[in-house]
Amino acid sequence: MPATTKKQVHLAAQLPGIHNVTVWSDPRSESQIAIDSFVRLAQTIERGKFDFFFLAEGLRLREHKGQVYDLDIAGRPENLTVLSALAAVTTHLGLAATVNATFNEPYEVARRFATLDRLSGGRAAWNVVTSYDAFTGENFRRGGFLPEADRYTRAAEFLTAARELWDSWGEGDIKANAATGEFVAAGAGRFAHRGQHFDIAGRFTTPPGPQGHPVIIQSGESDAGREFAASDAEVIFSKHNRIDVAREFYRDVKRRLAAYGRSPDDLLILPTANAVVADTDEEAAAYAEEISRELVSPQTAIAHLEAVWGRDLSAYDPDGPLPDIEPEDDAHFLKGHSVFRKGRAETARQWRKLAEERNLSIRELVIEVGGRQTFVGSPQTVADAIDDYVQSEGADGFVLVPHLTPGGLDDFVDRVVPILQEKGVHRDDYTGTTLRDHLGLSAAPRPAGWGGPGQPLRTGHDQPGRDHTVRDQSVRDDKETSA
């Protein structure tokens, strides 16, 4: 990697699960569920030396007017299971699974992430989400969901308990000494956690993988979400489509870290983004336009409007103006979609204003508010824009969402990545083996005394596992010089 004082651009990608961000009608669009699609995309981005492959989660199919919503791509695998399979066909790529803290228990989640970290040789990450609705809760034994105020307290305690479980095995607790007949250290895995949400104790089954703790990701932008990220997460997966808003968010979140004794480098901010690349800027713009229209069919446009208005708008013309009737608060219209936090009336008012100002039809409006493509242009244009975005502190990198599955990042990897590498802002090759290495994060914190009495706290990549490679310091050093 060339010596540089420029910030490195961190890149991740996801195969989207349920959303209208993928053009399913394109003949090049393949299965969203077949393992071959996941393997193809994962191997493509590993070729592009991305940091990680990301999977979102939704534990109930969306519904619209009391029926399964049929206009978007739907159907997804169980995250950790498919990522464990991908660990076998990739060597360096990080593997990030979104797993809800509301509909799971710490013992199982800690065990499964420790397993993924071991199977992948230290490449696991956990996006701790807190979605809470009763609608999703109907799929679970708890039947449970949580009041909004309790979501992050449960999530924080969940994570605390998971960390206690990971720390319940010390390095070297597996002796496997055939000569002495000692297999395991006495008391390995013993834990007890008592708190507001969990009262658990016993022996944990699974010594952690090479990373000790998986990388922790947080998604969600409320004040409570930002605090949780500042105190506990190592990556924020965020959602912005305007650079000014992104910079404000970036400043705000990085500022919060000091209160927890952390430095700005300890938490990376990676917004979701998409890129449309073509030979020229003009061709890319035309293609982006085409994609937008494919993503928002006339039926989709009306459905989105119905979601906000909370009433049947099927009589409206998608190419005509927005309805001038007021929204109703009918929760039946939409289940499992993101919540309209501002409220239906306020959202409708803003949409109507925007449509009037720009003279937009219903469909054009939905395309507009649905989020335009983030980066559109020739490979050079896209690479410059990404670089500028990161250097100007709008983000530390991006989680790219391809608009085609699984080939949607081929152009990006083949044509944009080499330019980023030339600019010295993206690695030519992996310099470490774990996801923590790729992200330039320090080893997971260990409780005082971990590693045995009198031994210093470990700081490098030397947790138990099959990969005892000596840690390459260059990633860390790069980060430090740029800070």
């Binding site: 206009l71 399979a85 499964r112 944990f204």
Partner: protein, 426 residues
Amino acid sequence: MTGTKGAPNGATGTTGTPEETAPDLTAPLHLAVALDGAGWHPAAWRETGARPGELLDAPYWADLVAEAERGLLDFVTFEDALGLQSAAFHLPDDRTDQVRGSIDAVLLAAHLAPLTTHIGLVPTTNITHTEPFHLAIGIATLDHASKGRAGWRPQIASRASDSAHFGRRTTPQLTEDEVGDSELISQPLRALFTEGAEVVEAARRLWDSWEDGAEIRDAATGRFLDRDKVHHIDFQGSNFSVKGPSITPRTPQGQPPVVSLAHATVPYEFAALGSDVVAITPHDRAGTAAILAQVAEAVERTGRDVTDRPLRTFADLIVFLDDEPGAAARRKARLDEAAGAELASDAEIFTGTPAELADLLLDWRSTGLDGFRLRPAVLPHDLTAITRGLVPELQRRGVFRTAYASTTLRGHLGLARPASRYAAAG
């Protein structure tokens, strides 16, 4: 839809009482291997050739499963539990001289899926503490990841201490007296088996909740899905409910085969209700026939239609195999000595040569068994003896496949791919 209804490749099947079933001795024998740690002998990890420091890491398992696949076995099972291993059935212990530590079996199986092409992968999961929804989508995903080679071994959590790992319910603490007798063990656990059968049923409904062809991608109407082919399951159990549908579309096998291990009346009923394969633990030929009769009674009591849903029967055996006569018994004695106690097991313990084991398998099989799940006492030694000694011996006798005839686990087992139960109406 790739499945074919009807009688696939010459399956036998314990479908009625043994009297009614004339065993087909020319039918292929089914053979599976149960993988656990360094092998089923507690001192196995101390043997030369063992890889005790690697038992929780992928390369060790990849090597074992590749070996099993070279042997053309129907499937491998992976043991698992949500508590640390213990020498006592019902209580945790503090022993440091035996293998302790495990990784999640579903994730392990998924990891091995892209590294293999034919062999069935059957992880064990807990069904007492884990959410049915999570279980169903995990196994469905394994089926997608393996292109139709997933199975599932659901297991209740019989150790009360496991409940404290979750802190949301308690389960019965078995007594010394109870654990000495399989019928007695299962009595206090009856409620957990009942609930477990509901978990299996809920999972099966979730697997059916997307019909084949639900994804239509109809650009004209803008519909990705045909929502008439995606169903709420509205499952109401005694202890839990699941609304559905699954988030994971219908899998290559439609329903991955369910494998359960059973030693007593209650678990025979559990198997009759929800399993495709039941593994039993007889100790001789007569005992095999007796257990098969009990299984058949359980099938009758639960009203299962075995023409529609055959139940395959496998017998479990722990095996020590060496070519030289007497060597396996001597090896077992040496391991017992290292362990400080004679090996005790629910299953019969066999020591001998591959040819002697082949004799035993064919003798027991004549009671109407479909196959065997062998538990290698020492890994990789006894696994390799199975694949390179026993399998060729069975092939010479014309009772074992010489190549895989199918790429799915259902195919290996001669089980048809079921249609979604929700498709009938449409």
